[in-house]
């Protein structure tokens, strides 16, 4: 997707990740504009999570990651990025309330042991309003539905004032109505200037609701509008055989 009219929020140049002797990802280069909503598709083990972890600075990588034109060599610069985990990666039995989870995003603005200030409490309230969970702020996290939990993590990323949100399979295990309303929320956030990268297995959703798609399979196979990116030829390169199914109807479990 051309990003000539947008400021560049995230630029990757030849990004690669190796785990021991195994190459998980190689030669990924792309530029994502501010306020873009991008689907990242690929089969299991294709390197989607690895790409997000590299961008967030959670795994060592080769190549260059730059936020807003500023090249990041150290962890601190990566606070521009918020990594939103899969629901299965989160300990939902942990005794914590919704507002407390969102407040964790404010830690980057606080010194060690410092109590949250008024500005932090206001930021938490605003973030919860943005994701329509203001009335759930005192509920235990574990009592919420899958879609609501993803909204809580979005609110945490908003409270963190991150420019780039990396949502790792955030829509997995979320029912269809909640998925649709979450994507609507993604669109609203993008319209307000936040950049969102959403990894998903749901190709129909990627075709229907996203303007740009990155197809990954150990490398960047395709980058562009979903109709071009998710054509049968491109899908074959990403997923192997397409078995003649129409791309938009495939939903890889």
């Amino acid at each position: 997707m051309p990003t000539l009219t947008r400021a560049v929020a995230l630029r990757l140049e030849d990004v690669g990740v190796r785990y021991g002797g195994f190459t998980a990802l190689t030669g990924v280069s792309c530029s994502i504009g501010s306020g873009e909503l991008v689907a990242v598709v690929g089969p299991n083990g294709a390197g989607k999570s690895t790409l997000f972890r590299a961008v967030a600075g959670l795994v060592p990588h080769s190549g260059t990651v730059a936020f807003g034109g500023e090249i990041c060599h150290h962890r601190r610069g990566r606070m521009h990025a918020a990594f939103i985990p899969q629901r299965s990666d989160v300990n939902l039995d942990f005794p914590i309330r919704v507002a407390e989870v969102v407040m964790l995003g404010r830690r980057r603005f606080l010194r060690l042991g410092q109590r949250p200030r008024r500005i932090d409490r206001d930021a938490v309230s605003l973030a919860l309003e943005q994701v329509n969970l203001a009335d759930r702020r005192d509920r235990p996290l574990g009592s919420l539905s899958g879609g609501q939990i993803q909204r809580v993590f979005l609110a945490r990323a908003l409270a963190q004032e991150a420019d780039v949100l990396l949502l790792d399979e955030s829509l997995s295990g979320v029912d269809r109505p909640s998925t649709e309303s979450l994507v609507t929320l993604f669109e609203e956030l993008a319209a307000a200037g936040t950049t969102l990268l959403v990894s998903t297995h749901d190709l129909a959703l990627a075709r229907g609701r996203f303007a740009r798609c990155l197809a990954i399979n150990g490398r960047l196979v395709a980058d562009g509008p979903p109709r071009a990116c998710l054509s049968d030829r491109e899908l074959e390169a990403v997923f192997g055989s397409t078995t003649g199914e129409r791309a938009g109807e495939r939903h890889i479990a």
């Binding site: 967030a56 600075g57 959670l58 962890r75 601190r76 990566r78 606070m79 990025a81 918020a82 990594f83 985990p85 990666d89 989160v90 300990n91 942990f94 005794p95 914590i96 309330r97 407390e100 989870v101 964790l104 995003g105 830690r107 980057r108 060690l112 042991g113 235990p140 945490r156 963190q160």
Partner: protein, 278 residues
């Protein structure tokens, strides 16, 4: 009512029992405050193993006349190093490694004490505690260690919560997740030293894990869990000490059993509530 009060108060006419009560209260506050993090991080087995391995450190320090806390911290450090070295081999599972290191260091501690000709050194003092012999100096040392540990826990409370709940996000917002883990393990060693005379090494894990587990059943936030766990800890320590006086039973074991009884009651009271919710 008066007879109940006198039942509680009777043991504390003697100075040594008043010292014992203060020592038990310090353990009742500190161990659950560390224990809530041990429980939430699923480190209870490591906590149990560390308490056993600490025998090597405290026995060695006692025999050469050095500080027990220093010996315990050194033992914790040696244990951590040995686990890390063995863990590098992909064919060895971590729980098996912890079991091996724990027994090796415990065995070394037993041999060290058995070969000592120092008068008054008895293995059972280390293993089961000797609460009746707590001196004013012991109390002062334990109180200082507890105040330092509790201050650190208070200072790091939010970061411990963040890194226990979601370590990935915690490291992204600048929290030193690895350093916090080591700090928590150091606090674990300090807690074991403070528990040494009251409940002994073998049952120190009871005060770490049981009040925290009871508190988890009745809490939906870490702040509440902390205060409930400390309440259960103090009640178990003082209740167990009083009961041990009247029953002439070993104090460490009685304190541990009272804590378990409080967990059982909390379980019985909260399970129907949970079942109704589902």
């Amino acid at each position: 009512m008066a007879s109940l009060w006198s039942w509680f108060a009777a043991p504390y006419d003697a100075q040594f029992m008043r010292n014992a009560a203060v020592a038990a209260t310090i353990v009742g506050v500190l161990a659950p405050a560390v224990g809530i993090w041990i429980v939430q991080r699923r480190l209870s087995y490591l906590g149990d193993a560390t308490s056993h391995a600490t025998l090597f450190g405290v026995a060695g320090a006692y025999l050469v006349g050095q500080s027990l806390a220093g010996g315990a911290l050194a033992a914790g450090l040696v244990m951590g190093l040995l686990i890390a070295i063995l863990n590098a081999h992909p064919r060895l599972a971590e729980d098996a490694i912890i079991g091996v290191v724990e027994t090796a260091m415990f065995a070394l501690g037993v041999i060290l004490i058995s070969r000592s000709d120092r008068i008054g050194v008895d293995l059972s003092h280390f293993l089961f505690g000797q609460i009746a012999t707590v001196s004013n100096d012991d109390l002062r040392t334990n109180a200082i260690l507890a105040v330092i540990a509790l201050s650190l826990l208070f200072l790091f409370f939010r970061d411990l919560r963040a890194s226990t709940f979601d370590p990935t996000h915690a490291s992204l917002v600048g929290i030193r997740v690895g350093a916090l883990r080591y700090a928590l393990l150091a606090l674990l060693s300090i807690t074991i030293v403070v528990s040494l005379q009251t409940v002994g090494l073998l049952m120190s894990v009871a005060m770490l894990v049981t009040p925290a587990s009871a508190a988890r059943l009745a809490s939906s936030t870490m702040t509440r869990m902390l205060f409930v766990a400390m309440g259960v800890g103090i009640a178990s320590a003082l209740g167990g000490l009083t009961l041990s006086y009247h029953l002439a039973s070993p104090s460490g074991a009685t304190i541990a059993l009272v804590a378990c009884g409080m967990l059982a009651v909390t379980f019985a009271v909260t399970v129907p509530v949970r079942l109704r919710r589902h």
